[in-house]
Symmetry: C2
Subunit: 344 residues, 2 copies
Amino acid sequence: MKVEAGQALSLATELLEARGAEHSNARLQAELLVEAELRGHPSHGLQRLPRLLARIERGLVAPNATGIQTWSGSAFLAVDGEAGLGPVVAHAAIEKLVVRVEQTGIAIAGIRDANHLGMLALYAQSIAQRGLIGIVLTSSEALVHPYGGDKAMMGTNPVAIGMPTSGEPYVLDMATSVVSMGKIHDYALKGEPIPPGWALGPDGAPTLDAQQAKSGSIAPFGGAKGYGLGLGFELLVASIAGTPPAPDVRGTLDADHRANKGDVIIIVKPGSAGVGAIVSGYLDMVRDSKSDGDAVTIPGDRSRQRRQHAISEGFEVDPRVWDELVAAGSNVPASVRKSYHEHV
Amino acid sequence: MKVEAGQALSLATELLEARGAEHSNARLQAELLVEAELRGHPSHGLQRLPRLLARIERGLVAPNATGIQTWSGSAFLAVDGEAGLGPVVAHAAIEKLVVRVEQTGIAIAGIRDANHLGMLALYAQSIAQRGLIGIVLTSSEALVHPYGGDKAMMGTNPVAIGMPTSGEPYVLDMATSVVSMGKIHDYALKGEPIPPGWALGPDGAPTLDAQQAKSGSIAPFGGAKGYGLGLGFELLVASIAGTPPAPDVRGTLDADHRANKGDVIIIVKPGSAGVGAIVSGYLDMVRDSKSDGDAVTIPGDRSRQRRQHAISEGFEVDPRVWDELVAAGSNVPASVRKSYHEHV
């Protein structure tokens, strides 16, 4: 079914507010989910909301916590997320970093005990839109098998990079797995088979069954190199955020455990003010570099086009997901229900 | 022909000293080249030395420059490399960063006007051996075609990550191209065809001819993701070091131009002292994770084994490369010759 951005944003915000989230926190979380839908990544969109609502109801998410922030070094912000919403804790950290980086030139946040960040592109983009360079990493449950291995031992270890240009920022957001587990869930939800090479089943043998893949393991992208890079990112997050490696991570795909993954946000001030124009000029050269005149795609280009289209035309949502959300509106446990008086 | 590490190190050091490099600088540069040979990467080894010697002779390298270091932020070291040797300028920057990071928690150097760093693994390893996390990026000439493109528009955009463990550090060092241009040169030197999928010729069509590939373009690794990541690293280096994107870079593969690529070194202090043991325990779990009992390889493992073997058994060098180096010993232009009196 077709849904409009405003409609989805209102519903998601209300569902979160009804469970005690203050408006600004609910809105920030809702935007993350709706932006993922607009950009064509339903795996990071509304289908994650029912689980998030259940997590709040069970006390696994404290929807108004912004995190305890400690400068363990003058450019190193150690954040105890207090079980807060991922976007709320991360944005609070970013606000601190963007101020500090003016003095230090680079600043980093290591975040533990916050919930799922959602699509990393938005954080990188928001940093780049302030004229700063952003690098975002996050860890997850063990979902990916090592190159040459046959068991899930690593997270999907995504990375986002945001770079200011003189126009729209360069925004890269990618898992170091051949596909995100979110997309496997998306295939499972649709009951469609996954392409060959994506995953192994729980027995370690290749599978095309999305359900088997969910309890098996996804391949790293790009063979040995992608594996090495994913493992490197995994170790960076664990060492910087002080969080466990993937096999001990819980709480981004379930409604039973407090989230113990880690997030790392690095912000760098570009070397000079003229860099944006140089980057834009170069990216245009790359776009126009093909002999036959076809445009070469720059990461972020297609996502922006899809977003533009979805803003005006709406986006497709699985009716089961939408129905579940609508039902959640009239099904708020009394223990977490926010009364009118608390609300104002 | 078989060469011993000590023998290669002495010859390379002497050749550099004969052209005016102080002993410690010559030794540092020579070690970079010999370590690459020991680890099985001749593309970053002795075959690069004749060009480097020619560059010194032509005044394109100032062998004793350590770089002008300016703290543009309290954790951001902007380095003007003064045409120094890559390893000399980079190690001088690392010395500053490792002190500063104790206060700041993270510190970064953006380096311009230094020569080729060589194998990045050694820098990452040296940082990790001090109990710190190292990330190293460097840019290069346009050698790689975009995913979906057919012309060289990007550098090979390598990344190295060094992580302290309770044993040997985790050291990843990889180009974001499917192969390094150094390896293509290696194939060209041996007159061997390159594997399919590695490169396009200057006409934009796939080629197996290493000579054609040298004047054509290499593929990014891992398809669209590897391309996006390489492009992201390219933009990071350009924006942080203030150096041009690949199409305008010169001086790492020729003896005609001053090097104008950029280098970025990031050092992070791990969140807690106990992290090394956690990382080691996790890496051992990954090594032992395969159902059939075969070991899963961790980046750096094979390289360490090769190094151990080459230390005791020596390593193979193309006799033409060795002959050229030996000849370079008795063929020092008077203009750069270091006299005994200057030397002491």
